[in-house]
Symmetry: C2
Subunit: 347 residues, 2 copies
């Protein structure tokens, strides 16, 4: 009857199984945890847990293994996110502190996360669409080409080259470039991408006929950059950790590696977070819609400037993972990266 004890048993099973990676039997359980009841009682509880679909026996005479649903209950009701040790927190800070630009921050973050959790780490680049324009620079190239450099508040830089169809090297041309430069920065600097895109379009409509063509070329290239999908990028690290945990994957790790190369679906996955951005999101095994990742769990969290989450990062591993510790690491790293980005962004 005691539901409480049944959950204690579930928790014990998860913990033991995570540690030993072998199906856990009733006898081993009562030996390693002081549950205050006998093995036979535990067996009865196990039978119930199996009926509820929380655990499962690989074959008649082996111990029990948690199902995806079992891990779900464990994560939701039976575990607390372990705070990280002092040393680890300091290590995170030091490792990320030395980053020199945004690429470097992302690079260091993903490696840090991989080595901390010993799993595959995934970090999404801060998304442009939710970002703001910091500055747009125009650099003449050759006689009629302009290189457009778009600088984003997260520190990211995008560039494009366009042909204006006009000679820009004479005084008139130089004046034109200067006027376009100041014009677009006036309406777009400091403004979120979506707003900037519409304002720039309006700017073109209002322009003199004479300069319209050149301005139009610049704005349309910028528009591409502002909405472009390619901007959504992810970086991975720690794939080797999959091989180490090879025994956890029934059908070899090939399909998992394949799924990891589909950056587009990975991004979609990372984008689906829970409601509360301060919370770590966990997707377990078959909860996961992506083919190939259904034997894995994804622990992820948003990060980025202040309360606005601009991107996500996370960790992917076997469903048999140490959730409390992994969740702690992911959360700590996400918070740290957010801090770093805030500092860099401080105008």
């Amino acid at each position: 009857m005691s539901e409480d004890r049944r959950l204690m048993v579930l928790r014990a099973i998860v913990q033991d199984y995570v540690q030993t990676s072998e199906p856990v039997g009733s006898k081993a359980l009562v030996e390693r945890h002081h549950l205050g009841v006998s093995a036979a009682t535990v067996r009865n509880d196990m039978a119930l847990l199996e009926e509820e679909g929380l655990i499962h026996a690989p074959h008649t005479s082996a111990g029990r293994v948690p199902t995806d649903a079992g891990y779900r209950v464990f994560v939701d009701r039976l575990s607390a996110v372990k705070p990280l040790g002092q040393g680890e927190r300091r290590a995170i800070g030091q490792f990320l502190q030395g980053a020199v630009d945004l690429d470097d921050v992302v690079d260091r973050t993903v490696r840090l996360l991989a080595s901390l959790t010993r799993q595959v780490a995934v970090v999404q680049y801060p998304s442009l669409t939710r970002s703001t324009v910091r500055h747009i620079e125009l650099v003449p190239m050759g006689s009629s080409h302009l290189m457009i450099v778009l600088i984003v508040n997260t520190g990211r830089v995008e560039q494009r080259v366009v042909d204006t169809g006009r000679v820009l090297t004479d005084p008139t041309g130089e004046a034109l470039v200067a006027s376009i430069r100041s014009g677009i920065n006036e309406v777009a600097a400091g403004v979120p991408f979506t707003v900037a895109a519409t304002r720039l379009r309006r700017l073109v409509d209002e322009a003199d006929d004479a300069d319209r063509a050149a301005l139009e070329a610049v704005v349309s290239a910028l528009g591409d950059a502002l909405v472009e999908e390619r901007e959504e990028r992810v970086v991975l690290a720690g794939q080797a950790n999959l091989a180490r945990a090879g025994a956890d994957f029934p059908r070899s790790i090939g399909p998992i590696l394949e799924a990891l190369e589909e950056h587009v679906t990975l991004l979609r996955l990372l984008g689906q977070l829970g409601d509360d951005p301060e919370l770590v999101s966990v997707r377990i095994g078959s909860e996961n819609p992506v083919t190939g990742l259904q034997t894995t769990s994804l622990v992820s969290m948003g990060y980025g400037s202040g309360s606005e989450r601009v991107a996500s990062l996370g960790v992917l591993g076997p469903t048999r993972m140490d959730y409390p510790t992994t969740m702690a690491s992911v959360r700590a790293v996400a918070r740290y990266v957010t801090e770093i980005l805030d500092e860099n962004q401080a105008t």
Copy 2:
């Protein structure tokens, strides 16, 4: 005695083994290739080849398998690089043509190479140190900070933020920024990195005391960017192909994945090319100095603007690979990428 025939036998062994991935015996050989001699004769040749260390029998009563040295001879003396089919060439062109900036070129290239060869592809970013400065832009941020944007002739962009320690928002400050901008571009634009670095340093020495500090801050940040090691980056794709070829790797693919995450050593490896930049370089198995990659072969080639090779790309796979086809793909892609970069660079 006939050395020629012995080499024919070696070639046949390599071809069959690559295709079937099973040790090849004398009988199978005479059936599949018309060598004009009997199985017994082939056996004698095999015994000699084994003495020379070119082939090797996994156990007493199995067929023979080429050794690393055997593959070496095959690559050097027994194979011609197969030209690619018309369709493939066109596919390469189309796939790379749509690239929008340097990141995109590299990204597409690595994916293309991976899917073409069905192996792990490695592409090095065009190295900065062998590149030239196209333009340097300065963007004020806040009251005393400057963002420095360095634009490289390959299309790459680097940026840094420095604190000049001066107020830049008043007229004096704006003039200072303008003068620094024109000063550094005058000496550095269009110039190779190494030269630019020394010229910039001289510029600082000659500056007025009043503006020296601000200029110095800018130049020292630029100096960092010009020599920085982080600039050396590689991108990978196709790791999943390792898993597919899993049977080829005696000790699981873990160590290989680990080695692939050591970007620094990967870069060193890619940097070691043969003398002739037009030639594809092949490093086979144990020829490879990196721990973990000694069961793999690396097929690589330099690429980049015109005759100056600025970086390398390649493919990593099991020693049992189809060398002629792989070499053809690598060479074709390298040439195409070179072309694309040349176009983009055309001033």
